[in-house]
Structure formats: C-alpha cells, structure tokens
C-alpha cells in the first residue's frame, strides 16, 4: 500500500467519523390550531419508567441536571416560568435513548479516490442518542408538543463537558420549533416531499 493510499484511507475515516458525529437532527410534532400563548408556567412531570437503552444514562444525575437546566433557560427565554404554586399550565417529561445504528459512506467515490463501479463502501457503526421532550397540558393531561434531537453519542457520556455542550445545543435547537403563539395549520396535510 502506498503512502498516498494510506493517507486517503485515514482522511476518509476521519471525515466519516466527523460527519456522523457533528450532524444533529431535530424534529417536533405539535397539536395544530392550539394557542400556545395562553401557557405561562411549567413544572417537571414524574420521571418516566422507559428504559434508556444504556445503563450510563439510567438515573444519571448529571444528565438530568443538564437537561433540566437547559430546558429551564430555553423556556424562560420564551416567557415560561417554573411554577411556584403547584398548579402549572404545562408538565414536562423527557426521555433519553441510546441505540446502535449504522451508516454507509461513499466518500471514496464522491471525492474521486475510486472511479470504478465496485468501489468499497465504509460501514460505520455508531451509538445514536435521542432526547425526546414531551410537553403536556396539565389540565387536560394531553400531549401538546413533542420535540427531539438525535446525535451520535460518541465519547459524550465519558466527557461531562462534551455532554453538557451537546445537551445545551440539543435543547436550544429543538425549542426553536416550540410555538409561542397559535400553532401553525399551514403545514397540515399535503406538504409531502418524496424521499
């Protein structure tokens, strides 16, 4: 194997690792036509009993502390205060899950390292973390908004600083999607895109 070839492999592997480690995806579902501006206060709902898929996240106080801190900051910025009366407008639940996923990379072909049809592909196995936040109307006890962020977990669980940074980013990005007025009907129905 030539030195150049070795370099290419190292570069490809580095790019591949970076590509799945840095792309966070967020999404949300909302009850359409609901006026979210009537909500003023929130509180934390009882912790869920769903398995996290990873013992490092089960009853992890640092993780919980970071999530709750980030949520409180983001909700305060949207005019929602932590309830002091014991009768909040909204109850918040969250759930974290880690599962193993795979990805296939074609960098070698895309960047011209390989031009034949039977180019090798890199299969990457990684741990995908999902943080799901449920916001429930406390009076009707119905889910009015669910948001989530997904990211490769990487070394996050062993690095408290990285964990905090990723959680803060995840919560900020998903809450950008949280409505503070009448939730939109505009996207309802037929906005389908073909994958």
């Amino acid at each position: 194997m030539t030195r150049r070839k070795q370099m290419e492999i190292v570069l490809t592997a580095a790019l591949a690792a970076a590509s799945c480690a840095t792309t966070m995806t967020v999404g949300s579902h909302v009850e359409r036509g609901l006026d979210f501006s009537t909500y003023r206060t929130f509180d934390w709902g009882p912790a869920d009993a769903l398995p996290a898929g990873d013992p490092r996240l089960t009853r992890n106080p640092f993780f919980n502390d970071h999530v709750q801190g980030a949520m409180e900051t983001q909700l305060a910025a949207r005019g929602l205060a932590l309830s002091t009366t014991g009768t909040p407008d909204l109850l918040i639940h969250y759930h974290a899950n880690i599962s193993e996923r795979i990805d296939v990379n074609h960098l070698d072909r895309r960047y011209g390292y390989c031009a034949v049809d039977d180019c090798p592909v890199d299969t990457i196995r990684y741990e995908a973390g999902t943080l799901v936040v449920d916001i429930v109307d406390a009076r009707s006890n119905t889910l009015v908004w669910r948001g989530w962020a997904q990211n490769a977990v990487g070394d996050m669980l062993d690095d408290p600083k990285a964990m905090r940074r990723i959680i803060v980013q995840a919560v900020a990005r998903m809450l950008e999607r949280f409505p503070r007025t009448l939730s939109s009907e505009r996207r309802a129905g037929h906005g389908r895109r073909t994958p």
């Binding site: 579902h29 759930h95 049809d117 989530w148 906005g191 389908r192």
Partner: protein
Amino acid sequence: MNAATIRLSRLAALAVSALMLTGCATMSVGSYLARGLDLHAYHTFDWGPPDALSTGDPRLDNNRFFDERVRSQAERMLDARGFQRVTSGAPDLLIHYHVNISQDVHVSHRDRGDRERGGFDRDPYVYDAGTLVIDLVDPRTETLVWRGWATGSMEGAIDDQAWMDARIDEAVTRILERLPRAR
C-alpha cells in the same frame, strides 16, 4: 386485554419483523383474508385495545400525533368501504394496528437489471424503514379475519409532521383499499 388478544397482537408484531426483511425504498402493500371466511358477514367495527409494544423508535413511542393520524385515516377508509364504527355494544370486528421502524440497507441489483449501470449514485444506502400492519379480528371467535400491511421508507418523514401525516395517509389508504367492501 385477554390472553387471545395478547396472542394476536404478538402475532402482528411478528408479522412486522418478517415484513421488515423484504422492506425497500418504495412502499409495498399486501393483504391476507383468512381462508374460508366471508367478510360480508361483517358490518361494524371498533378499535381494539392499543398495542403496548415499542415501535422501535423513541420519537414514535406514545406519540399521540402519530396514533391519531393512523386512526382518523383508518376510520375514514373503513367508512368509505362501508363499515360502520360502533362505540357501544358489540362490534363485528375489532381493529388493531402495529407500527415498527428499523434501519434497513438498500442495495440495488444492477446485475439483475434493476437499474442502469454506472453513474455516481448513492448505493448502497441506509434508511429508516417503516412497517404498518392493520389487523381485523372477530371478537367472538378471537380469530384474525383480515390483515393488511405496508412497508416503505420513513427516512426524514418522522422529523417533519406534515410529511409524516402524508406518509401515514398513503400507507393506511393503500392498505385498506385492498379490503373488500362491506354490503
């Protein structure tokens, strides 16, 4: 939920895992009518107990937005097929559904002529495959009368509510179009 109903929903879950193996990027749909059964004896339906199994995707577990979309589209389709929903008394049929999301790898078989050779295409690729199974059960005999299913890509669709709704509507419609009309 009695033992027979639990057995039936486990069967639905098993069917989902079997179907996952044949999953592909386009939506494929199928159905099965129990041998020797006449669907014309059935006129009314109601929802059976919801299925407590995980969907395999934390975004969809206990997600009322997903659940309500499946139910409303199924009710619309069953109504169009001549079945009437009864919420009191004894319905002729109980309807259950089960959904599963899991990663799948798409590999085309160029040598078999599935697609043209050459070009910088993205193959193989990984995507989120979704399978929806709808079961109609006769509550008197506790037997599965009819089963329909659809399997296809949900890649990117769960993160976008309008797109997810459209995928659900398409899957439910195409499944229940295969159900014989009630008389």
